[in-house]
């Protein structure tokens, strides 16, 4: 039975989740594009690569925007969180080795103890974000159940992956949960708040061009 589930999660399910993720992303970006054309067609006249990149660059640098300078602790944590969140799965030895097995391509991978550290940081950040939502009245006011569910969905592949790597009890079941939860997370990206990953460059392009080309002002 384990062999069948593993084969499914390792084979067809990878394609299904990649298709939903990529197809969903293209769909979301296309409908946003259509909406912009309908509601705010003038943006296409002044949208500029220079101002877009200028804004993007400021927003991806630590303390590159005023908002970040106002909230230094949150900024540091959010930056570390996002770097670990992306870097861990991409440069994890096990992931690169699996890709190598399937498609015969590979790239640099990080030492496993480093992956462990980054994983623990991500889990810690998820706990911190959840705690913040519970403790701070202003944030709590803006919080719905779905915010907690999204945090849990992000933490799940990290907790199960760490578990499987260290071969803690019932790790092979945990391995299957890991693959399933990761594939679910991937499919959630285009359709939940996680889509800021897709929209971020465009939000910056929009704001950057508006402020740069039209208002002659900074948007950071």
């Amino acid at each position: 039975m384990t062999h069948e589930i593993y084969a499914f999660l390792r084979g067809p399910m990878v394609w299904i989740s990649l298709t939903v993720f990529l197809g969903g992303s293209v769909y979301r970006l296309a409908s946003m594009w259509r909406l912009a054309k309908k509601k705010d067609a003038v943006i296409f006249h002044y949208i500029s690569v220079f101002y877009s990149l200028r804004s993007l660059l400021h927003w991806v640098s630590p303390f590159g925007s005023l908002n970040m300078r106002k909230n230094p602790a949150m900024t540091v944590i959010a930056f570390i969180f996002h770097v670990c969140l992306i870097a861990t799965p991409v440069f994890l030895s096990a992931h690169v080795i699996l890709v190598k097995e399937s498609w015969d391509i590979s790239w640099w991978w990080m030492p496993d103890h480093m992956a462990d550290l980054l994983t623990v940081i991500v889990i810690g950040c998820c706990l911190f974000f959840a705690g913040r939502r519970i403790k701070r009245p202003d944030v709590r006011y803006l919080t719905s159940v779905s915010d907690y569910l999204i945090l849990a969905a992000i933490a799940a592949p990290f907790i199960t992956g760490l578990w499987a790597y260290h071969q803690w009890p019932a790790f092979s079941a945990m391995m299957l949960l890991h693959m399933a939860s990761a594939e679910i997370l991937l499919m959630m990206i285009p359709f939940t708040r996680l889509n800021h990953m897709l929209f971020f460059p465009f939000t910056r392009g929009y704001m950057g061009s508006e402020f740069g080309a039209v208002k002659n002002a900074k948007d950071w």
């Binding site: 030895s93 080795i97 496993d112 499987a164 391995m175």
Partner: protein
Amino acid sequence: MVKNKIISYTAVFSVFLLILTVAAFSTDYIETVDDSAFEKKTRPPAAFFHDAHNETAGIDDCSVCHHLYEDGQKTDDMSVGMECSECHMSAPEDSAADLIRAYHLQCGGCHMEQKAGPIMCGECHRKN
């Protein structure tokens, strides 16, 4: 009398030789795969009780693993006595990833096909 002695000495010596040869080619001592080409191992050694494995898995043909190719075609001959890395990490462009891939495809590939035997990292690279 002398003839008898010679016969028994020869017999004892032959048995001794036989044991020596068997011992030299014995694979019963192998409990893990330990390819010398990996500069440093990052995982616990991969469990592999050579003889017991091949007996329970019912593999009689050594060339299933110790294979030999000629012009890209697999032959019936075998490469017993060679490490996998002697061929699978021999080209200058080959990396450790290529050697790992060879092991994983051969070992894990068969386990997947037969729906028996370990398939997950921790089932082969056992911590204890």
